[in-house]
């Protein structure tokens, strides 16, 4: 039972991490109707920026304090992400405003390849470390109930808390602020939003910057856990089934979907995996999303799509 709980918690934590990446997807889709395949690449790019800046800045300015170094690196990395957002909007999105969804999807695929290559050209392709002071030692909970206690990673716990905070902040942003309302209008209908005077370009830069911020946070947490390397981009692909499950337009959906996928993956690997020869983690999330889609095409919390003729 203790082992089951451990697996469960581990799955929940992993799920939270997926959700962090999924948040970026949902943000961009909610506000611009674009399915941003490049979110994973943005996570990697942001993580690379953070990792290298946290090396270069202290060295260049002779700073001893770890905290100050990290803060400056964070600011620098965020600035880079805003620049990336601005460039993507200028060079790609504004030119593709009225194209169909598949075209925009393909464009983000192109951006993915570009960012992958560019990031590694700029920042290098070794494995880099991010150290923001996340607690590395595991803790044991419930030692009285279960023998030996249940092993929980503190790092994952902190990550989960940060993710929860981020989600809360974003949900408030969309519901309560006028910018959030404008974003939702834009997601619904670009041309209608334009016609009532919403500045499309600026909105998109804001959205992609916020998504960049989410990518940076996700990148730092994942990078701190796994080290910053190219495979991060592939892990990020796993966020797609999360988004599908939760619904492309739902911020809470991204969380719930992430938790379900995280737990589902871990549990299935332990309990079903051995029957099938192991390694089923690579496809479980996708097949789960697929089966779910057959039952409820718009995901758990997504909006139903009605075709008008």
């Amino acid at each position: 039972m203790g082992f089951f709980l451990e697996t469960l918690f581990g799955g929940l934590m992993a799920g939270m991490l997926y959700s962090l990446i999924a948040l970026g997807f949902v943000l961009i889709f909610k506000a611009s109707g674009v399915f941003n395949f490049a979110q994973g690449a943005m996570v990697l790019f942001a993580a690379l920026a953070m990792a290298r800046f946290s090396e270069w800045i202290p060295a260049a300015l002779g700073i001893e304090s770890k905290v100050l170094g990290n803060v400056l690196a964070f600011i620098a990395a965020m600035a880079v992400m805003v620049a990336v957002a601005w460039l993507i909007e200028r060079l790609c999105l504004s030119k593709l405003v009225n194209q169909e969804a598949i075209t925009l999807l393909m464009a983000t695929l192109g951006i993915t390849y570009f960012l992958d290559g560019f990031g590694q050209t700029l920042f290098g392709s070794d494995i880099y470390k991010i150290d923001v002071g996340m607690p590395k030692d595991p803790i044991f909970l419930f030692q009285s109930t279960f023998e030996g206690g249940v092993l929980i990673s503190q790092e994952d716990l902190v990550a989960a808390l940060i993710a929860a905070l981020l989600v809360g902040a974003l949900a408030l942003f969309f519901q309560k602020t006028s910018t959030g309302r404008a974003l939702r209008a834009v997601a619904d209908d670009h041309q209608a939003a334009q016609s009532i005077g919403i500045p499309l370009n600026r909105i998109w830069v804001i959205v992609w910057s916020v998504a960049g911020f989410a990518a940076l946070v996700a990148g730092i947490i994942w990078g701190s856990k796994l080290g910053v390397q190219f495979s991060l981009s592939l892990v990020a692909l796993k966020a797609l089934p999360v988004v599908i499950l939760g619904g492309l337009t739902s911020v809470p959906g991204a969380i719930i979907g992430g938790l379900i996928i995280g737990v589902g993956e871990k549990l299935s690997e332990i309990y079903i995996g051995p029957m099938l020869g192991g390694g089923i983690e690579i496809w479980f999330a996708y097949v789960l999303a697929l089966l779910f889609l057959l039952v409820r095409p718009q995901g758990l919390f997504g909006e139903k799509i009605i075709d008008r003729v």
Partner: protein, 354 residues
């Protein structure tokens, strides 16, 4: 001036609906085919066959299959690599487990197996569209990645999922030298291209395009979305499966599941987009572009005398790929095929401006 259709009047519908209605086009294609079949095998160096021509032919075939699904029927698929893998491994099993099985039959059976699985994975398309469908096709990709690695029966109990074939021959003629392999692939591609072109200009092709353009209106005309979508998946998977089998048997000789990974799926999708969605010709243009580009990018530094280390070259290739995709989507979303037909339009008027 050269390209005018003066005097080429069509007197019956049959003539009007030929694949190449303009005489000059027919001559050009004829000459190209003669050149490809008779001249190239005699003069091309081995490197050209191995590095460019054979991959180009096989990937064009796969792109053709994918174009039918994505370009003509409008169903996004990110799992093409999986269907190539199924074609390759199925053909392998038929070839190896059934003694005396003719090569062509194995390859076609590989395609047929891919068809069955393709129809299965096409079922979600009946309920979901667009981006959701794209993610669902990823399920096919990752599942087959795993299946060919872990399910020993598929790979004749090979430990790493890698298999190999040797001693290919057709009706006693060996398929050993690069020139022979090239001709074999060329024959397949020529036949399949013709069959595909016939399909897309028939009523099934119009059904596919109707579903792509406006599926509600299509239903009202009496087109069954189920039949149209599943037939698109079926035909597409068949062609992609055969291409996969060719890739494994003829181009690689021995392969493991990684040869058909998600990178392959993306590569094929890029070919179809850059080449032109909904265009048979476009599949060839796209394949040529994607096959030749990395080679050019690799060689470019040497031509300019600037050596670049391989890792950096790989990164730069990624960047240029990505940039080119975006560039094409902005400038000409209908791809190279549209550029080509626009050029031909201008050529028909040349030297007059309009």
């Amino acid at each position: 001036m050269l390209y005018r259709e003066n005097g080429q009047f069509k007197t019956n519908y049959r003539a009007d609906q030929q694949v190449f209605p303009i005489l000059q086009d027919r001559i050009a294609i004829g000459a190209l085919l003669v050149f490809a079949f008779a001249v190239v095998p005699l003069i091309a160096p081995e490197y050209l066959f191995r590095a460019i021509l054979i991959p180009f032919l096989i990937l064009s075939l796969a792109a053709l299959g994918l174009n039918i699904l994505v370009g003509y029927c409008g169903q996004i698929s990110l799992g093409t690599g999986a269907f190539m893998a199924i074609g390759a491994y199925a053909a392998y099993n038929f070839q190896v487990r059934i003694p005396g099985m003719p090569l062509i039959v194995s390859l076609l059976l590989g395609g047929a197996t891919a068809t069955l699985v393709g129809v299965l994975f096409g079922i979600p398309s009946l309920r979901i569209k667009g981006l959701y469908l794209a993610v669902a096709t990823l399920a096919a990709q990752f599942f087959t990645d795993w299946a060919f690695l872990r399910i020993k029966w598929f790979t004749n109990d090979s430990a790493s999922g890698s298999v190999s074939v040797a001693g290919l021959q057709v009706f006693g003629l060996p398929i050993e030298t690069p020139a022979q392999k090239y001709l074999f692939c060329l024959a397949f591609v020529a036949v399949f291209a013709l069959l595909a072109k016939n399909l897309v200009r028939s009523h099934i092709g119009r059904e596919w395009m109707a579903i792509r353009d406006m599926d509600v209106a299509a239903a009202v005309i009496g087109i069954r979305p189920v039949y149209a979508k599943l037939s698109a998946f079926a035909v597409s998977s068949f062609i992609v499966g055969v291409a996969g089998a060719l890739w494994g048997f003829v181009h690689l000789g021995s392969w493991e599941p990684a040869a058909f990974s998600i990178d392959r799926s993306f590569q094929l999708l890029f070919m179809v987009i850059i080449g032109g969605l909904g265009s048979i010709m476009g599949s060839f243009f796209g394949a040529a572009f994607i096959v030749v580009l990395p080679i050019v990018l690799d060689a470019l530094p040497y031509w300019f005398g600037i050596p670049i280390d391989t890792a950096l070259a790989a990164h730069l290739t990624f960047m240029i790929f990505g940039a080119l995709i975006v560039f094409f989507l902005i400038v000409e979303p209908h791809g190279l095929a549209r550029l080509w037909s626009t050029a031909k339009e201008k050529l028909r008027l040349w030297p007059f401006p309009h």
